[in-house]
């Protein structure tokens, strides 16, 4: 399992640049999902060719587990311009069931009709419960039932493997 964070981010930046060129994506909006996704997006933004500042998304109001988990205690700010006819690069730190990404897409659509949404994920845990896949993946990580991965930040940005 490769947890060399800096190298992974470097690899993702290069792949993202190539991806945008290949898909003719111009001036995209890079959107980070709070909190880890925002930290990763900040790093990736530097290499992306766009004049748009970093956008952030809090998906608390769009989650599908309102019934069992209730309202999330601390809701952070969603700062998103109009998404009408824009290319979106959605960024998150960990992809597990895919429900966070589903919620994020619903929220993005409330701000307009985007031209496209591409997904960049730092760590893909290969545990999806929905048909959602990342376009840019930092690392694919297979954890056993007692392990958890945790990103801390924003400075210093660090990843740790936790045994529960």
């Amino acid at each position: 399992m490769n947890l060399d964070l800096e190298r992974t981010l470097e690899k993702m930046s290069q792949e993202l640049v190539a991806y945008c060129a290949h898909k003719n994506i111009e001036n995209p909006i890079v959107v980070g999902i709070h909190s880890g996704g925002v930290w990763v997006a900040e790093r990736l933004l530097a290499s992306v060719n766009t004049s748009e500042p970093l956008a952030t998304l809090d998906i608390s109001f769009y989650r599908d587990d309102f019934t069992r988990a209730g309202l999330h205690p601390k809701v952070k700010q969603t700062l998103l311009p109009s998404t009408e006819n824009r290319h979106i690069i959605l960024v998150d730190d960990v992809l597990m069931s895919g429900r966070t990404i589903r919620a994020a897409m619903n929220e993005i659509f409330d701000f307009g009709r985007p031209s496209s949404i591409s997904l960049a994920i730092l760590y893909d845990l290969d545990k999806s419960e929905l048909p959602i896949k990342a376009d840019i993946v930092g690392e694919v990580i297979h954890l056993d039932s007692k392990q958890k991965i945790k990103l801390s930040g924003p400075e210093p940005l660090a990843v740790s493997l936790i045994q529960t």
Partner: protein, 334 residues
Amino acid sequence: MVRSEPRALQLNDQGQLKHFLTLDGLNKAILTDILDKADSFLSMGEQSVKKVPLLRGKTVVNLFFENSTRTRTTFELAAKRLSADVINLNIETSATSKGESLMDTLQNLEAMQSDMFIVRHCESGAAHFIAEHCTPNVAVINAGDGQHSHPTQAMLDMLTIRRSKGQFEGLKVAIVGDILHSRVARSQIHALNTLGVDEVRLIGPKTLVPSFFKEMGAKVFYELEQGLKDVDVIIMLRLQKERMQGALLPSESEFYRLYGLTESSLAWAKADAIVMHPGPINRGVEISSEVADGKHSVILNQVTNGIAVRMAVLSIAMSGQLQNKEKNETGANT
């Protein structure tokens, strides 16, 4: 025939709100949580799509036994921004048959399978009564009951104070006017003390500010100048003109002369004091136009904050009910 305490009835087994009836007995953590969530909902007002799916598919019934356009409209707006379906029922009721007609009304409404009742009634204890007797898993929100409680108004006032002043510690807050008949004042006193302000002051004529209010944790003043000295927040209450007949006050102009907030009386408070009023304001009775429209006034902010606070309360109560239901169902299946 009230069996349970309102404060105990409000909370589910995990200590979360499942009804919102009174601020009496709610701790600082719960009140702060409402304010924090209201802050998040406030930023939503800036967006072009002012809707989130939290209460999608839920039916919210505005049960107003007492007339109110402003409160009812803000509750309706709050529920709709949470994607709920809203029904407005204005019901005239006679005081004599209160208990019975309330039960009948309730049973008829239950057939509509609503998820939440927002209740305003002229009798104290009405919202509590409904919370006790309605079907399980239905949340009841008190929009004002008699002279007892108006918790959402007090909470939006608290949010306004926090957003203007940053924190509650160290603040001197004055509530001025018809305290005796005010359900808003009672709720505000609970909230201010729980959230930890330095001092709560009640100012007004002796007929409208009885000394038993000291038991609630407030200082009583009968002179405006004394009461307003060094105050950070001034909350003016509406003088209900209909009370004039009871000889509780000589006249409106007399009240204005002694207790009206004008530019000169405002000068007795701190230089950066804020001026609040639950509305609707009576210009020239409680407050002068210059002050109501002046730079110290945050009256219009209160209205905006009211929608956010109500969104917070509706989602928290619905969440508390749903989690209670989940827990009971899982418990039954094990």
